[in-house]
Symmetry: C2
Subunit: 196 residues, 2 copies
């Protein structure tokens, strides 16, 4: 009876994808059913198939939307001026910002990508590896230019990427810390450490 509500500038498919991201985050991809998704949208499950092709298509849409955003952002930063540490700071801040503004989708892309089917799984992992490679190269450049201490570049990238991913835990305790303090302190910690 009820129809799927679309805010302006959003197709019904996009509304379904957004609600799917919320549900997949809450219950995980496998445990979330199309019936639950339909209920959340005020509709019967088969009605969804007027707008989408399959459940796994929803996961694909979420993962690649996020993956492509990160891929295009790192390209922009690579080609911008400034020293390496500034670039890395910009990347960290972009991660934090994405976590703030697209939390559900980023969360799902981070946690549920393994349920992508081929060839999407391979493609997604390729995007991610390419991203990590860019970041690693950046760190290596920083080391060569003596901006960054002698250290294993891969470990540095791993540490940074993992730390910003951890913002998902903050998301549940928002009240304790303001976004600005969070962002500044985390950037500072990752670049300068935390000892006096």
């Amino acid at each position: 009876m009820a129809k799927i509500k679309t805010s302006k500038n959003d197709t019904k498919k996009e509304v379904i994808i957004q609600q799917a991201a919320l549900l997949f985050k809450f219950k995980s991809y496998s445990a979330a059913s199309m019936r639950e998704l339909a209920v959340a949208l005020g509709v019967e499950a088969p009605s969804l198939y007027n707008h989408i092709g399959s459940k796994s298509e929803l996961l694909q849409a979420i993962c690649f939307k996020v993956g492509n955003k990160f891929a295009s952002q790192i390209e922009t930063i690579e080609n911008s001026g400034g020293c390496v540490v500034d670039k890395i700071e910009a990347i960290i801040r972009f991660h934090i910002q994405m976590m703030m503004e697209n939390f559900d989708e980023v969360y799902v892309a981070n946690h549920e990508w393994k349920h992508l089917q081929e060839p999407f799984l391979t493609d997604f992992l390729a995007i991610r590896r390419s991203y990590e490679k860019s970041l690693t190269t950046l760190v290596e450049t920083g080391i060569n230019q003596n901006e960054i201490r002698q250290t294993n570049p891969y470990v540095a990238v791993l540490t940074i990427l993992s730390a910003v991913r951890g913002l998902e835990f903050w998301h549940r305790n928002k009240k304790n810390v303001s976004p600005q303090v969070l962002e500044d302190d985390m950037v500072n910690h990752l670049i300068n450490g935390f000892v006096n």
Copy 2:
């Protein structure tokens, strides 16, 4: 026909739990079926129920085994001598070590705890909150004693815990970096930053 193989000092239940951790890590808890688990053990699914009570009991065993290990370790470190930074370094190294030696179970506890049913879900989250609280108190002490720079303690804890969790990504690329380099560089990065 075939029986579940037990190495010495392991009950059959423990063998099942270990195999479950491997499977849950690979496929996620919801997507993993008891039939798959049985195949991995060379047995039919109903045979498992001679040794265990239910699928969710397996997840409980995994999560609390890991949770209790961390809880008891932080208590030991809290009560040990030494300065705050040394204690935090010991904690980071313990996390890394746990990731190395009990990877499957740590991974599952980190990723699949949300599928615990009550009251286990509440209990597990209580253990985790208590752990984070201990760590936060430690950082606060370090700030008061001027060992640690003025910063938000919660953000510092978040950054550290998230970074060590990220070792799961390293686990797939072991070849590139030795465990010792990984451990030393990550500790150094988290304590001293990475700029010159």
